[in-house]
């Protein structure tokens, strides 16, 4: 199996000492304050991510100096590392927007909608198929938020309202975060802590991930048609949920690294027979579809004929899938592409409380040709001349008035890129100054064993919220859980499983994921509206996971 750039990312973050930061209520509250500020600004006051992010960074930096004894050099180096951490995500954003604009200018999204509706006119089936199954499949082969950037525009083309087009893939693919992308989260966990029983830990994690799997299917069906939508989708939810969940449990015993990818591939294959079933081939018998755009069949009869067939509309995604699978699974190809690598150097920095971040000659090497951003860019750059050669751009211009590709890509990208940079600077400042660890240790310090077991997955969620990554959440908190589990006498396998499940679920509230979605659906600045829908889902899943964890310890 090829080594992943993300593995290097993990190693880079894992190097250092957590120090001896006093864990008291005021420090805990100060460490929490940037996150609280973000949530208030985004959810309550409705600020955009570009506006809220920098303020949270400033607050975090002030807290670092005032209460965490962070010298200026540590803040500056942490900030620079945060900027570098953002580069792979910036690539995903720019490449995904370019792919979206190429598809829009060629009429591919219009053709995709017409094409899939010829296979099935059932909106609930189609949205579950793309938002749950295809997004999970995409997570199996790509990371850095690429599944959201890929699926949200497709859902928009299917006339899902923009906010739902972001929310649905966010919660639909969250379960696959931990074992997805060749199990990078799992490999990271094994690297940063001494896992006593790896097979049991992987199995318990897969068991806990059943909760977000089924919760995603039910929530998406609920969003589509409330209770009637859930009733209509129930057979599909049970079949697909069982394939994803039982598939992952089965595969995790053989190969944790491939378990999400294989389970999602099986579920993808199940969509074809389901689409032949009259229940899901014909329109859903639902009076109200709140997640769908109002203008529906009225203009269906008047809209232009597609300029291409479904196969050509899906061509960029076929390129993306083939390239991703080839690079991730064929080691010589990966090794060749990883020759192109860039990495800055950073010195060792520390705080007055002994939080040390080791110096690195090559910090988090960026391998653009073997990263998801590179795959997306290749899909866009291959599709562009192919669509041009087949005359799709001209044909679609004659029927519609699509915006220009490059200038729109740039103007859409800039606000998203600035927000992502600020969020990763925030994550880096918090982790370099011991604030992130204080958050977890503070919870564990006041919680008796059963309460701690209940809260373990919430610590994982907080980690993903702060770092924008389930892998980084585990890198930060898996060693903390190991220590606490030992002192409190609870099962390490169970709390690590809860942490991992929480880290995966936390992606639905991770700011960079929100930005990826809002940018690729043209609703930049509405991150708060997304959070208002994902936070309740994450809360329900967290409570269920907490209860299940108590049963497992």
């Amino acid at each position: 199996m090829s080594s992943l750039p993300a593995h290097l990312h993990v190693l880079a973050q894992a190097s250092g000492e957590t120090g001896d930061v006093p864990v008291d209520f005021w420090r805990w509250l100060l460490a929490l304050s940037p996150i609280l500020l973000l949530l208030v600004l985004l959810v309550v006051l409705g600020w955009g991510a570009t506006e809220a992010g920098p303020l949270a960074v400033v607050l975090s930096a002030v807290a670092a100096v005032v209460a965490f004894e962070a010298p200026l050099q540590t803040l500056v180096v942490a900030g620079a590392k945060g900027v570098w951490d953002s580069v792979p995500i910036l690539l995903v954003i720019v490449a995904a927007l370019l792919l979206y604009r190429v598809g829009t200018a060629a009429g591919a999204f219009h053709a995709l909608r017409i094409g899939v509706q010829q296979q099935s006119r059932n909106e609930v089936f189609l949205v579950l198929g793309f938002g749950w199954v295809f997004a999970s499949f995409a997570q199996g082969i790509a990371g850095f938020g690429a599944p959201i950037a890929i699926v949200a525009p497709i859902l928009l083309a299917l006339r899902v309202r923009p906010v739902y087009a972001v929310v649905i893939p966010l919660i639909g693919h969250a379960w696959a975060k931990f074992f997805g992308t060749l199990g990078v989260g799992w490999v990271a966990t094994l690297q940063v802590t001494d896992v006593e029983d790896p097979q049991m830990t992987a199995l318990l994690t897969a068991l806990l991930l059943l909760i977000p799997i089924f919760a995603a299917g039910i929530a998406i069906a609920w969003m589509m048609g409330r209770l009637a939508g859930v009733r209509h989708a129930l057979p599909m939810i049970l079949i697909i949920g069982t394939v994803l969940g039982a598939g992952q449990i089965g595969f995790v015993l053989v190969s944790p690294e491939l378990s999400s990818f294989l389970a999602a591939t099986l579920a993808l294959l199940c969509l074809y027979p389901l689409s032949r079933w009259s229940r899901y081939r014909n329109e859903a018998p639902l009076d109200d579809l709140p997640a769908m755009s109002a203008e529906k069949s009225a203009d269906d009869t008047e809209e232009p004929a597609p300029v291409m067939g479904l196969g050509w509309a899906l061509f960029p995604y076929a390129v993306l899938t083939v390239v991703s699978v080839l690079v991730l699974l064929v080691e010589p190809v990966a090794a060749l592409l990883e020759q192109v690598s860039f990495a800055p150097s950073f010195p060792e920095v520390s705080t007055g409380f002994g939080v040390v971040n080791e110096g690195m000659a090559a910090y988090e090497p960026l391998t653009p040709l073997s990263d998801p951003g590179g795959f997306l860019l290749l899909a866009a750059l291959v599709s562009w001349p192919v669509y041009r050669a087949r005359g799709y751009f001209q044909a679609w211009r004659d029927r519609a008035d699509p915006p220009p590709i490059l200038s729109t890509t740039v103007s859409d990208s800039v606000p998203a890129l600035t927000a992502v940079v600020t969020f990763l600077v925030l994550a880096s400042v918090m982790s370099h100054t011991g604030q992130t660890e204080v958050l977890a240790l503070g919870i564990a310090a006041v919680a008796p064993p059963l309460v701690y077991a209940f809260l373990a997955n919430i610590i994982g969620i907080i980690g993903a919220l702060v770092t924008n990554s389930s892998t980084s959440s585990n890198v930060l908190f898996a060693p903390v859980h190991t220590t606490i589990a030992e002192t409190q006498g609870v099962s390490q396998a169970a709390v690590l499983a809860a942490q991992s499940a929480g880290g995966a679920v936390g992606n639905v509230v991770a700011p960079t994921n929100l930005i990826l979605g809002t940018t690729t659906t043209g609703i930049s600045g509405q991150e708060g509206a997304i959070l208002r829908k994902t936070i309740p889902w994450a809360a329900v899943v967290a409570v269920l996971t907490g209860v299940a964890t108590i049963a497992l310890i």
């Binding site: 600020w47 570009t50 506006e51 500056v76 180096v77 620079a80 900027v83 800055p344 800039v414 600035t418």
Partner: protein, 59 residues
């Protein structure tokens, strides 16, 4: 100058800060670190300030 231009400039400043800080803090001249730190702070402060001023060309 529109909001998009200013956001773009702030982004470029923050991206440019990273190699300067890396270079200056690992054997390069101290002034590189200082310039990098100023660029990074300027980018963040500019983005924060944009919330409170009205410019044409909403991004």
């Amino acid at each position: 100058m529109t909001q998009l231009h200013i956001e773009g400039a702030a982004l470029i400043a923050m991206l440019a800060a990273m190699p300067l800080i890396s270079w200056g803090s690992t054997g390069g001249p101290d002034v590189a670190t200082v310039v990098g730190a100023v660029l990074l702070a300027a980018g963040l402060i500019t983005l924060t300030a944009l919330r409170f001023v009205n410019l044409e060309g909403e991004s």
